[in-house]
Symmetry: C2
Subunit: 289 residues, 2 copies
């Protein structure tokens, strides 16, 4: 199928490579062209704007950074909605606000363009290995039509309901991870200061009620001093801010999530937003003694 | 072997039954005798005090509620140290303070009594199925001598070092769980208010980076309105208080753990300390609308 992809970061590049491998034709755009080179080398075709990508694509995907980037990508002077033909489908895979997802779906309706929100989890490794979890909101018939393409890039494809519900599911995911990341960070700090054998502590906790994905994935990296991003801290902060904004709209108080956002905000303020989320531990006094 | 066991609560009872099944003779004491009946029916022998239990036991185990109960059990007028013979071993399985564990080991040294701290994780189900994780501190030779008995009641038996290190490992475990429980609680609240399908949300998150033991064990119970204790909220609060006290001693600031303790303190203050830890969600505005 003739596909478009806007946003060839680490995740986007890996996804495009899988789409090409499956035999799809993919037209790409990225704000920094150099970062699209890997997909071009693999057979993707470059276009000069989101508008130009959408104009030649039956289905256009986007995975950009922040909600304001999503707005620019869809609603800008050379945005997707300028180029997409009636009857085509656009899919935002950025983790963005449920409110914006609803707005894009509404604009799509006016132009007979099918709009889905489809944020993912699973990180760079999931994107590379096509094991992403995809959380989809929007029109169900559009989802069913697109599902085979999702199956090329992910392992678990879940439809959660109307526009914005994919984003809500992703927010739930991030709220859960806020708990595992803060818990992991403070557990490792305590264990280190108490003089526990760190590898043995990780192995022991993994065998019981404390077990969790973040600990198994990031615990060993932290012990090795590896804070390179699987997932950028600045993006996780953005996600938590969205979750808290949405919680406010729902009149919901989430103190632990708010504290996690505060801790990540301090990390970003300390110039560490380009570290992976596991770098949070470097912002605690006592870790790097 | 001739064993003693003090504290036949839900956990203690299950452990004693496994010890009896393995062919050991077990003498028991519990503050409320009625709660020891199940072990007596299964072949345990009742004694009237910790002192009396220790006097007839080669190895005496204790699993009581709070650190002050541990003090009373070991150091009271009819405590374990009054009855234990030189050369015998005593093992505190209560989750208690590392500081108290060190103190008991020191007193034991003076009387030629071997003392271990050996808190466990795995809850009532782990105790029943003999799949507990046991975290041991104290003299290594004593640990090695006792290890076959631990193997009767647990699956993963870990020696962490000198007296108190078993307790420190357990504190690390509880700090990690503070993160998974607060994250789980706020995730479920958000998901419910956002109108997500709750079962689908749990299943989706379990397939990715948000996966954790607490979510898998307690998520379905919460959705079923089941707040019966696998682990008492009041005991979890006690554990977090100990962790934070120890962190203070180590000059370590653990804000997420402190927030979790505040949330559980509010739960206990609301008269919900006898609920399971998963009952935390009932203290959030918006869950029981």
């Amino acid at each position: 199928m003739q596909l478009g992809f806007i946003g060839t970061g680490v995740m986007g590049t890996a996804i495009v490579l899988n789409l090409l491998k499956a035999g799809h034709q993919v037209t790409v755009f990225n704000r920094t062209k150099a970062h699209a080179q890997k997909t071009i080398d693999a057979g993707a075709v470059w276009a000069n704007s989101p508008e130009a990508v959408a104009a030649v694509s039956e289905v256009t995907f986007s995975m950009v950074g922040f909600p304001q980037d999503v707005e620019e990508t869809y609603l800008g002077d050379h945005g997707i909605f300028k180029g997409a033909a009636a009857g085509s489908t656009v899919v935002d895979m950025t983790t963005s606000t449920p409110t914006l997802a609803e707005r894009l779906a509404h604009i799509g309706d006016e132009h007979e363009i099918h709009v889905l929100d489809a944020p993912v989890s699973g990180g760079d490794i999931g994107a590379r290995d096509a094991t992403l979890t995809v959380m989809v909101g929007g029109d169900r018939a559009t989802f069913e039509a697109i599902k085979p393409i999702f199956a090329v890039i992910g392992k678990t494809i879940n439809y959660f309901g109307t526009a914005g519900m994919g984003q809500h599911a992703k927010m739930a995911n991030q709220i859960m991870i806020a708990g595992t990341m803060t818990g992991l960070t403070e557990m490792l700090l305590y264990a280190k200061k108490a003089g526990l054998d760190m590898d043995q502590t990780l192995a022991t906790l993994a065998g019981g009620g404390a077990n969790n994905w973040s600990m198994n994935a990031y615990g060993p990296r932290i012990l090795a001093g590896d804070y390179t991003p699987g997932f950028f801290a600045k993006h996780f902060l953005k996600d938590l801010r969205i979750a808290l904004d949405e919680a406010d709209k729902m009149h919901l108080n989430l103190p632990a999530t708010r504290l996690a956002a505060d801790l990540y905000a301090a990390m970003v303020a300390a110039g560490k937003g380009d570290m992976g989320t596991q770098g949070l531990i470097t912002t605690y006094n006592g870790w790097e003694d």
